[in-house]
Amino acid sequence: MSKKTLVEATINGEATEFLCEPRQSLLECLRDVLELTGSKEGCLTGDCGACTIIVDGRVVDSCLMLGVEANGKTISTIEGMAIAGQLHPLQRKFLEHAALQCGICTPGFLMSAKSLLDRNPNPSEADVRYALAGNLCRCTGYDKIVRAVLDAAAEMRGCGAGKAATR
């Protein structure tokens, strides 16, 4: 048993304080302490990517980070992706392309894809597959996910409705 630590972080743009035990992962803090259950637990070993978040601009498996390590960090989770009820283009393209089936991996994929497009607005298919290789999806075979990300990138670059991804 251990005493709790106060952690201060900026989460989805909000200054946030929470208490956590030293042994709690950041994923557990997000889900069980802050009720941000959009980040999912698939493995707790950093293999599936269902808990992917963005910490200070880098994609992180939140199951591999301790809650106490979040102190002073700027964190984005799936709950902060749509702004004021407006879906992010990636979210919209995932829906239009049917890029999800069960949807458990979707938040993680969206965070990884957002991080990619933040860094590289014009990725190739190979870039997309490389950037998403840390996220497992067992339903789709990835085909529609890759197309959705390419289409979202094209739209965000102002190329109109997804020439890059349709065929």
Partner: protein, 762 residues
């Protein structure tokens, strides 16, 4: 009124709208089982066996109970004796005694990971600490890990009272022997010009859904219990939990959470009864979730198998005989899909003479569960490889060989009765005419392979309710957990019948008290059977709308019709009104309009798929890269084509993982050594190419919209297609899965040295 498959004149069906639950799923708002929490909720963890096969001499829980924060511990002593009988539950036969002993071991553990006790505590970490304080004395027994070991004379017996019909009162590890035959096999082989005989071995593999199992149980002092969980079948969870707990079905309510994949693996219960048992003991809601290691060690993967197969063909490419011996690992308790495997293994072909023997064999591995077309993928790996070899011997293109021998309407099924209208040949033709198959594959170490697959699909029971709202919109209520976008299909079917936009239909998946019995989301049955119920319920609502309009207009119902969402009088009469305009009259014409249907769906339409795969083999490492993949599948009618393609692509991807990487790796003591997703290696998006999906639509005559169901069959062809492609790339016929680098490299080196020897000798 509704369009039918025959008219084919659809407005909503066949389009690609955004799914109704989509926004929830891209914003993190959708609630999966592990996302539920309740005030005062406790957390449960399960103690699991570190041995593959052992007697439990003693379980001591006092130290664990004394740990602050621990509220209750249960063992099998807390469960009633369950009946030793085989009973149909959804798709599977269930033996309640075996089910109960799988949930909490009774006197004996039968696999590494077998549950022994469960703890409820104020935090999951405390529950985990408590597990370490439970002391168990074991008497370790020798593990029986393969069908060969389990079937050997004198093999250690797993289940003392297991008997089969053929061995009388002799203890055995063989639960059932299935046999299917047609014609005269010996005579068939005599008429063959070419005979190929091989033995195949496939490794146990897991469905690999990303969401681990979970359950929240809330037991009330009045004896009623509620379970929130991610499951493919809420009514099965209710039935199976009632059997394990010894509680009446009516006292349990199961609420479906969103489900993060299942593929057959979430059609039974593990944590659900434990959550209720712990809640009863503590008076608090109790949540249990599995770790990934628990999912791999202790939930139901699908069987590894050994298949000995001999097939013969005449010089002109006619299959004349097949003799097949197949044994599947059932895991710790009987119930492998070997029967299905035996009925699928020659299902795509008209073979006049066959003899198929299948054995369901218990081994010290987790009790298997369904996995997407259960039993068929193992079987097709064997038969579709041998068929490729026969086609080669006959000098016939492998697709033409399949077309020559392929089943069509009127051909006998393995069990006898003829197929109704099916689309097997069309799927093969679709691959033959695909840009992929027509393209030329060039480059060293590359090869192309094709293979086919069959799956029965399932009908069974479904219920549906269609409510018409005062604004002319509707809701459609079913009991089928939506595992891959089926809410969209349900809404589209209701919208098509009512003639309103799909966005005006809100689909709801209800709990077990709010909708009639509905069997599992499995067997590719939701769009087929629940879709049929939705179609009928929407027609029922449409009929009532017509009656109400007739009443309001003082006409006969025959004089009114519902067309494109408007109520018309036939011939001259009242100007048409929309459902919305009619709605204010509902109260005075008889009250709310609720369309209802419940049915046991007949007319199941079998599914066929054909796949083409290009590979490149690294001859130095044995690693296989998939360069291109195309799959054609008969959907009957694709309600939402994007989600049909998604099923085909997803099934193909799972088939590729099964073929190349995935396997349960046990050590000599029967301990699973790859309990994480780094070592149980499923395909990532870097491992796969784009997967082209060709939807073939040969309407199922047994469904009003022509639907067959599309969820499973695409997993069946890839392992054989890849083996056939590897053969063309390397000259090596692979006969075991996974065709992983070490295994393939070994085969390549063996092939090279035997070729060199042959050259030296010649």
């Amino acid at each position: 009124m509704a369009e039918t498959a025959a008219s084919g004149n659809f407005k909503v069906i066949g389009t690609r709208p955004v799914r109704p639950d989509g926004v929830d799923k891209v914003t993190g708002r959708a609630k999966f089982g592990a996302d539920y929490s309740f005030p005062g909720m406790l957390h449960g963890k399960v103690l699991r066996s570190p041995h593959a096969h052992a007697l439990i001499k003693l379980i001591k829980i006092d130290k664990a109970l004394a740990l602050p924060g621990v509220k209750a511990i249960v063992t099998s002593a807390d469960l009633p004796e369950a009946e030793n009988k085989s009973e149909q539950a959804g798709e599977m036969a269930v033996n309640p005694r075996h089910l109960s002993a799988n949930i909490l071991a009774r006197g004996k553990v039968l696999y590494d990971g077998h549950a022994i006790a469960a703890v409820a505590a104020t935090s999951p970490h405390i529950a985990e600490e408590a597990l370490r304080l439970i002391e168990v004395d074991y008497e370790i027994l020798p593990p029986v890990m393969t069908v060969d070991a389990a079937m050997a004379p004198g093999a250690p017996i797993l289940i003392a009272d297991l008997r089969n019909k053929e061995e009388g009162d002799k203890p055995t590890n063989v639960a059932t022997h299935y046999q299917f035959k047609r014609g005269d096999v010996e005579a068939g082989f005599k008429s063959a010009d070419f005979i190929v005989e091989r033995e195949f071995n496939t490794a146990m593999v897991h469905q690999g859904y990303i969401e681990p199992h979970n359950a929240v149980g809330i037991y009330n002092a009045d004896g009623n219990a509620t379970i929130y969980c991610s499951t493919q079948g809420i009514f099965d969870v209710r039935l199976l939990s009632s059997q394990v707990l010894g509680v009446e079905v009516g006292k349990i309510r199961v609420v479906p959470a969103e489900i993060g994949g299942g593929f057959g693996g979430k059609t039974t219960v593990y944590l659900e009864p434990l959550s209720v048992l712990l809640s009863k003991k503590t008076g608090a809601p109790v949540k249990l979730t599995m770790s990934r290691a628990e999912v791999l060690r202790a939930t139901g993967p699908t069987s590894g198998s050994k298949i000995k197969i001999k097939m013969g063909a005449t010089r002109d490419g006619r299959l004349v005989a097949a003799q097949i011996w197949m044994a599947y690992e059932a895991g710790a308790y009987p119930g492998s899909p070997v029967g299905a495997g035996a009925m699928t293994i020659v299902a795509p072909y008209t073979v006049e003479n066959f003899l198929i023997d299948g054995y369901d064999v218990v081994v010290n591995r987790p009790k298997t569960a369904a996995y997407r077309a259960p039993g068929a993928t193992n079987a097709a790996f064997a038969s579709e490889t041998v068929i490729d070899e026969l086609a080669e011997k006959c000098g016939i293109d492998p697709l033409d060989f399949r077309i020559k021998n392929g089943v069509q309407e009127g051909s006998p099924q393995v069990v006898g009765p003829p197929y109704k209208r099916i689309g097997y040949l069309q799927t093969v033709e679709a691959i033959k005419n695909s840009p992929h198959y027509k393209s030329k594959l060039t480059g060293a170490n590359r090869g192309r392979g094709v293979a086919s697959g069959f799956w029965f699909n399932a009908g069974m029971q479904s219920s549906a309710i269609v409510n018409i709202h005062p604004d002319g919109t509707a809701s459609v209520v079913t009991g089928s957990p939506d595992i891959g976008g089926s809410r969209a299909s349900m809404a589209m079917i209701a919208a098509e019948v009512l003639g309103i936009p799909m966005t005006d239909v809100r689909p709801v998946v209800a709990d077990t008290d709010s909708i009639g019995h509905t069997d599992v989301t499995a067997g590719s049955r939701v769009t087929f059977a629940t879709g049929m119920a939705v179609y009928e319920a929407a027609r029922d609502a449409a009929r009532q709308l017509v009656e109400r309009a007739a009443k309001a207009w003082e006409k006969k119902p025959e004089e009114v019709e519902l067309r494109d969402g408007m109520l018309h009088t036939k011939g001259n009469g009242v100007p048409p009104v929309s459902i919305k305009q009619l709605a204010p009259r509902f109260p005075r014409t008889g009250g709310p309009i609720v369309g209802r249907a419940s049915l046991n769906a007949r007319g199941v339409g079998p599914a066929f798929a054909c796949a083409c795969v290009d590979v490149e083999v690294d001859p130095e490492t044995g690693k296989v890269q998939i360069l291109r993949a195309t799959v054609a599948q008969d959907a009957g009618k694709a309600i939402h084509p994007s989600y049909v393609e998604g099923q085909m692509q997803g099934g193909t991807a799972q088939g590729i993982g099964w073929a190349l990487n995935e396997e349960y790796f046990y050590d000599a003591k029967g301990i699973l050594r790859n309990t994480g997703l780094l070592d149980y290696r499923m395909p990532t998006c870097l491992d796969l190419p784009a997967i082209d999906a060709i939807i073939v639509e040969v309407p199922n005559p047994g469904h009003p919209l022509g639907v067959r169901g599309v969820g499973e069959v695409s997993i069946v062809p890839p392992p054989a297609a890849i083996a056939n492609a590897i053969y063309r790339a390397t000259g090596v016929r692979m006969t075991e899965t996974p065709m992983s680098p070490p295994k393939l490299l070994k085969a390549i080196l063996r092939h090279r040295s035997s070729a060199a020897n042959a050259k030296a000798a010649g």
